[in-house]
Amino acid sequence: MTLAKAASQGLGFPNIAVAPVRGHPGLQSKEALQQNVRELTLNGVIDNLLTMPAAKAVGGEPGVRDIVCTGSFEEVNEYFLAHQLSDGLPVVPPTVEKVEAFLKYTDRKADEVIGVMLPDNRAATVWSVAVNGVMAGCRPEYMPVLVAAVEAMADHAYGVEHSGNTPGGDNLIILNGPVIKELGFNYTQGVMRDGFQANTSVGRFWRLCLRNIAGFLPHGNDKATFGNTWRVVVAENEDVVKKIGWTPNCADYGFAAGSNALSVGRYTGGNHISSVSGAKPEDLMPYIADAVVRQYSWQLMFSVGQGYDTLRPLLLLSPIIAETIAGGGWSKQKFREELFAQARMPARRFEQILRDWTQKPTWNLKEEHEAGRIPKIFHESDDPERLVPVVWKPADFQVVVTGDLGRNSIYVFAHNGVLGFPVCKEIKGAKTAGVARG
């Protein structure tokens, strides 16, 4: 099914006409593409402009509080699998009693709409958040975190509607605040590993919401070429952040240190960089900067081209790496400035990736600069070997301190630009277990 067909129902046009293109344009010679357009696409375009497609109704479905299955644990799970309501793992059956237990941890009305999400164009209500939280195996006291996560998902700047795109990147939630310890999130060794209920179940919750609320289904409107599984939540080590005099991730989005907040963003991949070695920050920077540049290929189109200044590389620094950098007198801002200065590639390569290798239309750094669309730093001379940055400014780098306390590693994520732009939300009303309202 083409993306246009798959997405049209949620937009209210289930019968919209689509003119097919034979094969994938990226793998055809100019002549073959022209021939395919003449032989197939042309007739489709003419038909669609001159002939009204037959009307098509959208089928009915249960109401949001309807019981759709009564049975044993296995029977409920079979039903959810058969109706594409589950991710393939067993879900906790979402009963009224369990959902109401979650609702006790929020002051918000169950029917309140947090946002409306494409491609299915469904409302994310507080109720549906609780239902999917139950299914994911969350504890009721996670509810404020779940609500904040869905607020982020529904933020237009994040762009949830792109979550089924070709690269199949997945979201990463980064957590800050006292809620980390209160709810038992892992923020040290193995922080990206499953095995910790809070990190794991909230990560799974995100993917279930993409399925059941936004409406992304593989073999339907989730068009990921390969895809990823969902990522567990990464919590920052705020003890170390405070000790070295840096600010937490949420502060970069305007929230004070000590706030309960989470940020989200979509990443197409990443790499663990081992053995980051040296006694001073100056010793560490070349290796770190090189690791950042190596993560960025076609994603450069989100710095110049498809998106302008929407690339936000994310680096996780293990605590002793952050301590070594801070020990040299560097603030987080200084680290970013040095990264911006060193994480560069030849302009020739930057343009080659966009223009030649990925066949983007006209992107040329000189033309883009002269048209006023990008800053001068991308075109300070006509030398094709000049070094250009991968982002527009130092603040574009996201930096988070977390992971094993004793290992000298970093992790660099490849960001998906405007198709999963980072946003941050406050977690309101977080309470520890046993202090539910009412």
Partner: protein, 103 residues
């Protein structure tokens, strides 16, 4: 011993979209103005170029509005671009729109 029974709720969010009518189709393309709207991927510029040539040969007087008049429907300014489409299309006198490219 009987397994515990669960009454499981529907987990999906309520649909918000209502089915909308499609625009009236044209009786002919002769003398009409067709707008190309593009998401700047999948070689749409070349596809539109070939479509223009073929349509112009088949329908005398057909005119085209180039995709760069509208902006990128799949980039950092996509929401503004899409929101501005109806007004721009009216101002430019478009009779029909072809929007691409998908995959």
């Amino acid at each position: 011993m009987t397994d515990r029974q669960y009454a499981a709720l529907w987990p999906r969010g309520p649909r918000q979209a209502k089915v909308k009518p499609l625009a009236k189709r044209l009786d002919t393309l002769e003398g009409k103005t067709i707008a190309w709207v593009w998401d700047y991927v999948f070689r749409g510029n070349e596809v539109f170029e070939q479509l223009e040539k073929s349509l112009a040969a088949k329908y005398p007087g057909v005119k085209f509005l180039h995709w760069d008049l509208f902006g990128n429907t799949h980039g950092s300014d996509e929401r503004n671009v899409v929101a501005n489409l109806p007004q721009k299309l009216r101002e430019l006198g478009a009779d029909a729109v072809v929007s691409g490219m998908g995959c």
